[in-house]
Structures are given as C-alpha cells and as structure tokens.
C-alpha cells in the first residue's frame, strides 16, 4: 500500500478541512519521508488515528487503554459544542492509496450530537472506490465487503505495528509482564492460526473424554496412571490460566501505578522527592533484573564449581598417569600381543632366534610386564586428557565463581541502599500535610506491594509449571509402557492413542510454527539492530532473541544474556529493531508495504544512533512518516534528512487560538528554519 493523500474534516483536533500528501519514492526521487511536526498535544498521533479510522473504522488505538468514549470522541469537540444542542456534526476522513495496479479512495464519516456533557456518535458510513489500470471504476458501500477488501491489502491484525510510539518503545525495553504480552500478542497475530488452536483444543477434549471412558474400565496401575495424567493436565491448565491472570493483574497494577504517579506529580512541593523516587525505583528494577541474571548465571555454574572439592584426588590420578607417560610406559612401546608372539615363537621380528639367549628372553619378559593392556592404556590416556583439561581450567572456574559471588554482593548492597533511601523518601512524603497526597502515597505503596507479590507468585508458578511438564512426560511414558506390557489392544485405547497422537502432532505444528516466527523475528531484529547500533555497541552486542516465555533478551558477544546491562539508548534501539522486525515479518519479509508512522522515535538516542536510524529506515520502509516534536527533531537531523535526499514533505501542526489545530504544508526550504539547534534544545532542557 502506498499512501498518497489523507483528507481530514472536523476530526479530533482538526477543525475544518485539512489535507496531507505523503511522500513516496519514485524513479526520479528517493524522498519517502513525510515529517509531521508539532508540539505535544497538537494531534500528531491524531493523523495515524485518522488513517486507522478511515481504513478499519477503529475508534481507539491500543495505546488508549481505559480512556472513556467521551475522551476519545472522534468528532471535533469545538465544532460540536459550537452547534446548538442536538444539531449533528459530521467528521470525515478520506484516504487515497495505491496497491498493485489499482488506485483506491476510501471515505469514512460519522455524525455526532452532544446532549449535556454526553456525546452520541452514530455508526460510521463508509465507501470504497477503486480504479484499475484501464480506468474502470468500481464503488462499494457494504461495510463487510470493504473490511474484507482492506484486510486483503493489509491484514487488520498487524495494522498497529506500523505505528511506533514512545510508550510502546519504552514497554518493550523492560523485562515485564507488559513486554511478554506485547511480544506474545505480536507473534500470535503474525501466526494467524486460530483454526489450528481450535483443532488442538478439540483434540484435547476428545483425549480427555476417551481417557474418562478407559479409566472406568481399567484397574490397577493403569487406571492410577491415567488418573494422575488427567490430574496433572488439569493442574497445568490451571497454572497456565493463573499465569495469564497474573500477567493481566501485573499490567493493571502498573497502569494504576502510572496513574497514581501522574496524580502525585500535581503536588509541586513533593515533586523533587517524587522524581528522586522515580529514578530510584527505576534503578531498583534494573538492579533486580541484574540480580536475577547473576542468579541464573550461578545456576549454570553450580555443578562445575564442585570440581575443586575433589581437586587433590584429580591431581593425584593425573600425576600418576603423567609419570607413567613420562617414563614411556604409556602409550606402551610394544603391544602385549606382539611380545607374547616373540616369546612363543622364540624369534625376534628381525628373524634372529632368541631361544639360546636367556638374557634377551628375560628383557623381553620385562617389557611384557611393563606393557599395559591396550584397552586400559587407551582409557588411561583419555582420562589423562580429560583431567588435564579440568586442571587447566580450575583457576578460571574459581575466579569466575568468585566474581559472580562478588557481583551479587555488590548488587545486594546497592539494592539495600536504594530500599533504605526509598524508605526515607516515603517518610518524607508521608510527613506532608497534604492528606490527599498521603492517601495517594499509601495507595501507591499498596500497588507496589501487590506487584512484588504478583511477580513472586509468577516466578514460583513458572518453576512449578516446568516441573509439572516433566512429570507429565514421565507419566505418559509410563502409561505407554503399561499399555504395551499389559497388551491392552482395546478399541478405546487405540482411539485414545490416536487422539493423543493427533493432539501432539497439532501441538508440534503449533510450537514449530511459533518457534519459526520467533526465530525469524529474532534474526531480522538482530540484523536491523546491528545496522542501527553505534560502533561500540556493534563490538559488544551480538543480537536479540525472543525466548520461550516471550520475553526479549539481548546477547553480548559471548552469547550470554546482557539486557540488564545495556544503556537506555541501546534499549531503545533494541525496541525499535524488534517492532521493525514485526512489521517486516507482517509485510512478508520484504520492505514494509505500508507507511511506517513513528511517534517520537529518537527519545534517548545518541546522535550516532539517530544518524543510523535516519540513514537506514528509509531503505527498509516504502514510506516513513515521522511524527516529531521540537525537542525530538533538531536542525541537525533535518539537515541530514535533506542531505540524504529523503525528506519529501513537511507539515507543521499549528495551534489555533480556539484550541484546535491546523495542518500547514511547508515547502522544504521553509521547514529547516523551523527546527531548532540541538545545542539550544540541550541548554533549555538542562
């Protein structure tokens, strides 16, 4: 889809008619960036919202969360309030785009009236016209047919990957329930396997029904094992349900926390303390993540760390074999069989007889005694090699263990220190005379405690779930053994086995498919991440992986988890790469056939990262719409966009005295002076 034009009328902040023409590369020009520039609250996201409304009839975006319908009224409120009560106002959005050889125009409008403070909006009207290469035009107005047509051009399930906002980028940078949900949702949408999941569920139910019948007929251990399998499956299902509930609760708690923090920000006198607390809380989370990482590294080292316990024995055995090697006894110079043959033949290999030479015979017998059995000799040499490796690594292993323990102690110390400082801040905030602030603070503490409880429960359940899965596997194996031993060839058992095989096969397909998509996203994200990283990052960081629990991890150059240690800018680059990888996978692996809207993408990026993003992204997307504020897009970045020949259109969102926004088309030569100098921005923001 190449977006040509968007016409907006009385939609959200935009009163009256406004038009945006989007840049797209042609044979003569590679300019495919459209900048929509304006201060916060001027309606940058509103442009994307207008497009989503027009194409899919969306009234809200995923970022709207719990916002009420009144807050999200699509019809321009100013115009609505200016009309007499009960007089309807119509908002409309029209988009023109091309796809393949065809040109499309879609127009969606809705009418609203205001009564008191309540806004009533009607079901929108929609029409879609298309024109083929021969100029034949067709218009459809059936909403279902339009939905199917637009869906065939860009699947509705992946539409939101084409809008990045700061919040989504931030959400993906933290190892949290929100991150896992976002990643899982993204992968699920890309899989498009609803039918497969229904089939898995149906086969699971069939297995259970057949098992119930078999159990009623079975006796002894067979019946017991089936019962245990059923109980374990129920247990696993409830663990999975609870994990989902916990993730939902954790997300709700976090949203509530942000809400309370916003409320608390109103109290100026404690704002410094709140900011301090925010910084400390963020650091506490980072320290927590690092501690979890160190604990998992300790887990993988615990077994090896026991080798020094038997160091003396290992060295004794090694020295013994080594001495025998030094003495030439290992490997034996001459094989035992050959010496035995010389003695029995009474003739040396050179042909000389030794029967009349007792001294020679005695020397050869000595050889035979010293010579080991070849099997034993080979085993001893193998053992020598293994022990040599173990001994040569002992010092490294010891220092590795020590540094892990030391690192953990440092983190623990820092955690205690932060907690102590947070307690102090809590007391200071609690001591304020503002009762409402104190109430909010109390509420906040409760939410924090809930979050810690939820995370602890989640961790315990995850451990239980892994253990249950192992037990279930063992029980299924036992059942199969019993059915073979007892020669149960009952028709019912045969059917149950087949149903179970079908379920396992379907689940196998599901898992393989999910894994394939996750791997493809990991690969693409890594590729993009490495293009966007600065030189130092490229040296130290290897790539991004999506793990089995849908969390994202960063690997360092030794392939060990490193997410907890990367900088804020690198985290942001990681998130952007991940979302870009989702978008690319949604686009079928090629360039994104949809304009990519990025809201405040530069955030914490260093200049080198910004330059990389500006240079790389237009190569990956057919169109890039950059929604930027004055602090986001400085003159340096603007000049770079022009120099690279990528900047095609520039729109300025100007605030009007009545609170609405107008969209001004600016020629490129007028656009750059609008942008401010980076040094000035830095100065103004301390």
């Amino acid at each position: 889809m190449i977006l040509k034009r968007l016409m907006i009328e009385d939609f959200r902040q935009f009163k009256g008619k406004h038009e945006i023409c989007f840049a797209s590369s042609t044979k003569r020009s590679k300019a495919n960036i459209t900048v929509i520039y304006g201060e916060n609250g001027r309606g940058k996201t509103g442009v994307f919202r207008a497009l989503m409304f027009c194409l899919y009839g969306d009234r809200r975006l995923s970022q709207d969360g719990e916002a009420s319908n009144n807050e999200l009224s699509l019809v321009n409120l100013h115009k609505l309030r200016a009309e007499k009560a009960g007089t309807p106002v119509t908002a409309s959005v029209e988009a023109e785009f091309t796809h393949g050889e065809e040109r499309y125009t879609i127009r969606r409008s809705l009418r609203a009236i205001i009564q008191g403070d309540v806004i009533h909006e009607e079901v929108p009207d929609v029409t879609l016209s298309s024109q083929d290469a021969n100029g034949n035009t067709r218009t459809i107005s059936d909403p279902d047919a339009i939905r199917d047509k637009v869906g065939s051009i860009l699947d509705a399930r992946v539409r939101e990957y084409f809008l990045f906002d700061g919040e989504r980028i931030e959400r993906l940078t933290r190892a949290s329930a929100e991150q896992r949900r976002e990643v899982a949702q993204g992968i699920r949408n890309l899989l498009n396997i609803d039918d497969l999941e229904t089939a898995i569920d149906a086969s699971r139910k069939l297995c259970r029904a057949l098992d119930t019948e078999i159990r009623a007929k079975s006796t002894g251990e067979h019946a017991k094992v089936i019962k245990q399998i059923n109980e374990m499956e129920d247990k696993q299902s409830s663990v999975r349900r609870r994990l989902t509930e916990l993730d939902d609760e954790a997300r709700t708690a976090l949203a509530e926390l942000h809400k309370v923090d916003k409320e608390l920000e109103k109290y100026q006198e404690i704002s410094e303390l709140l900011q301090g607390r925010q910084a400390l809380t963020t650091r506490l989370e980072e320290v927590g993540e690092q501690m979890t990482l160190v604990l998992s590294q300790m887990r993988s080292r615990a077994g090896r760390a026991a080798v020094p316990i038997v160091e003396t024995t290992i060295k004794e055995v090694f020295d013994l074999i080594d001495n025998r090697k030094q003495r030439g006894e290992l490997p034996p110079e001459i094989r035992q069989e050959l010496i035995a043959k010389i003695l029995s033949d009474g003739r040396c290999i050179c042909g000389r007889s030794i029967t009349g030479d007792p001294e020679a015979r005695s020397r050869i017998r000595e050889w035979k005694e010293r010579s080991e059995d070849p099997g034993v000799s080979d085993a001893a040499l193998d053992l020598w090699r293994y022990l040599h490796t173990i001994i040569s690594r002992l010092d490294d292993e010891r220092s590795g263990t020590e540094s892990l323990l030391q690192r953990y102690a440092e983190l623990r110390h820092e955690e205690n220190d932060i907690q102590h400082r947070l307690e102090q801040i809590k007391e200071q905030i609690g001591g304020t005379e503002r009762n409402d602030a104190a109430q909010l603070e109390k509420h906040r503490q409760k939410i924090e405690a809930d979050r810690i409880r939820l995370e602890a429960e989640r961790q315990n359940l995850s451990v239980n779930s892994a253990q249950n899965a192992q037990e279930l596997e063992t029980l299924r194996l036992r059942r199969s053994q019993l059915e073979s031993q007892l020669s149960i060839r009952d028709e019912l058992v045969r059917r149950s086995r087949m149903a179970s095989q079908v379920q396992q096969a379907l689940s196998g397909v599901h898992d393989a498919f999910r894994k394939e998509v996750a791997e493809s996203i990991s690969r693409t994200a890594t590729e993009m991440f490495r293009c966007l990283l600065d030189a130092e990052g490229q040296r130290n960081l290897r790539g991004i992986v999506v793990r089995d629990d849908y969390s994202i991890q960063m690997l360092d150059r030794w392939n060990t988890p490193f997410l907890a240690n990367i900088s804020a800018g690198q985290r942001q680059i990681m998130s952007i790469s991940f979302i870009l990888a989702l978008a690319r996978t949604a686009a079928g692996g090629g360039a994104f056939e949809m304009p990519l809207f990025m809201d405040t993408p530069f955030g914490r990026l260093s200049y080198e990262h910004r330059v990389n993003l500006i240079r790389q992204l237009p190569e990956w997307a057919t169109q890039w719409v950059l929604l930027a504020t004055d602090t986001e897009l400085s003159r340096d970045e603007g000049e770079l966009l022009v120099k690279e020949g990528r900047l095609g259109r520039f729109y300025y969102l100007r605030a009007q005295p009545d609170g609405t926004t107008s969209i001004e088309d600016r020629p490129l030569e007028d656009a750059l002076p609008l942008l401010r100098n980076r040094r000035r921005i830095a100065h103004e923001h301390g």
């Binding site: 160190v294 604990l295 998992s296 300790m298 887990r299 993988s300 080292r301 615990a302 077994g303 090896r304 760390a305 026991a306 080798v307 020094p308 316990i309 038997v310 160091e311 024995t313 290992i314 004794e316 055995v317 090694f318 013994l320 080991e372 059995d373 099997g375 034993v376 085993a379 001893a380 193998d382 053992l383 293994y386 022990l387 490796t389 173990i390 010891r398 263990t401 020590e402 892990l404 323990l405 953990y408 602890a456 315990n460 451990v463 892994a466 253990q467 192992q470 037990e471």
Partner: protein, 147 residues
C-alpha cells in the same frame, strides 16, 4: 571406561522432591546436583548404600565427560589406581551413588536445613524462602572446595 550413556542413576527416594525442586532453581539439571553431592560425600569419606531405597533419577547419558572423569578419578583412588576397575561403568556409578547419597545428607544438614522440611519419606523446599538459594548454594560449594 566408556562413559556408558544407558545406566539409570539412582538416588534415595526420600530426595525425589528435593531433586525436582533443586533442578531449575539452583542447578540446571539433576546430574549436576548429583555431582555436587558425590564430591561432598567423597571429600568427607562418607558413603551410604542406597539399598532398597534407590529410585531411578536420571540417565547416565546426561553426565558430562568432565563429571565422568572426576568419577573415574575417585574410583581409581579408592581402588589402588587399578585401571581394570574402570572397565565396568555400572560399578563405578554404583560406588559414586553411595558417595552422592551421603553427600546429599551432608548438604541437608549443613545448608538446606534452613530451607527445607524433612521427613523420612520426603524433603521439600519452601520456595518462598529460596530467592537467594542459588547464591547460598554456590557459596557453600565454593567454600567446600577450599576447606
């Protein structure tokens, strides 16, 4: 000394839950916990036959070559450095099982008593108290190598 992959390694059935819980929590796999316990038992010269309480725990195929090498070294040292005694891996592991069994008991008495509920039939960790157990465990193992 073929590092046989098909032997079922046994532990006392009392430690069934303990092995299950410790795996994923403080060690990656059962053979690692077994190795730690075997080293502890060996160092303290403590052996305890499993008798009828033996319970199949894991396949010897999961034991790493380095762990095998340590087991062979222990066995050789116990048998006057006679390499012929390494010809039967089942016998080697049977002897190591006795060390591991005694080592698990030592581990319980010296470290896990603060985290576990012990009965004749079962040993269960209280997971709520185990947040730092990987660290405490590694520290204990590391110090056992110094002592």
């Amino acid at each position: 000394m073929s590092m046989d992959r098909n032997i079922r390694v046994k532990t006392d059935k009392q430690y069934k839950s303990l092995y299950r819980q410790m795996t994923n929590l403080v060690v990656g796999d059962s053979h690692e916990l077994f190795f730690v316990c075997a080293c502890l038992g060996y160092k303290r010269k403590a052996r305890e036959p499993l008798g009828k309480r033996g319970d199949d725990k894991f396949w010897s195929g999961t034991i790493t070559p380095e762990e095998w090498a340590c087991y062979y070294a222990m066995h050789l040292s116990d048998n006057h450095m006679d390499f012929q005694t390494l010809s039967d891996d089942t016998k080697v592991l049977a002897a190591i099982e006795e060390y591991a069994n005694a080592g698990t008991k030592i581990l319980l008495e010296e470290l896990l008593c603060d985290y576990a509920t012990v009965s004749d039939e079962d040993v269960t960790l209280d997971l709520a108290r185990c947040r730092e157990l990987p660290k405490v465990f590694l520290n204990y193992v590391s110090e056992s190598g110094i002592r």
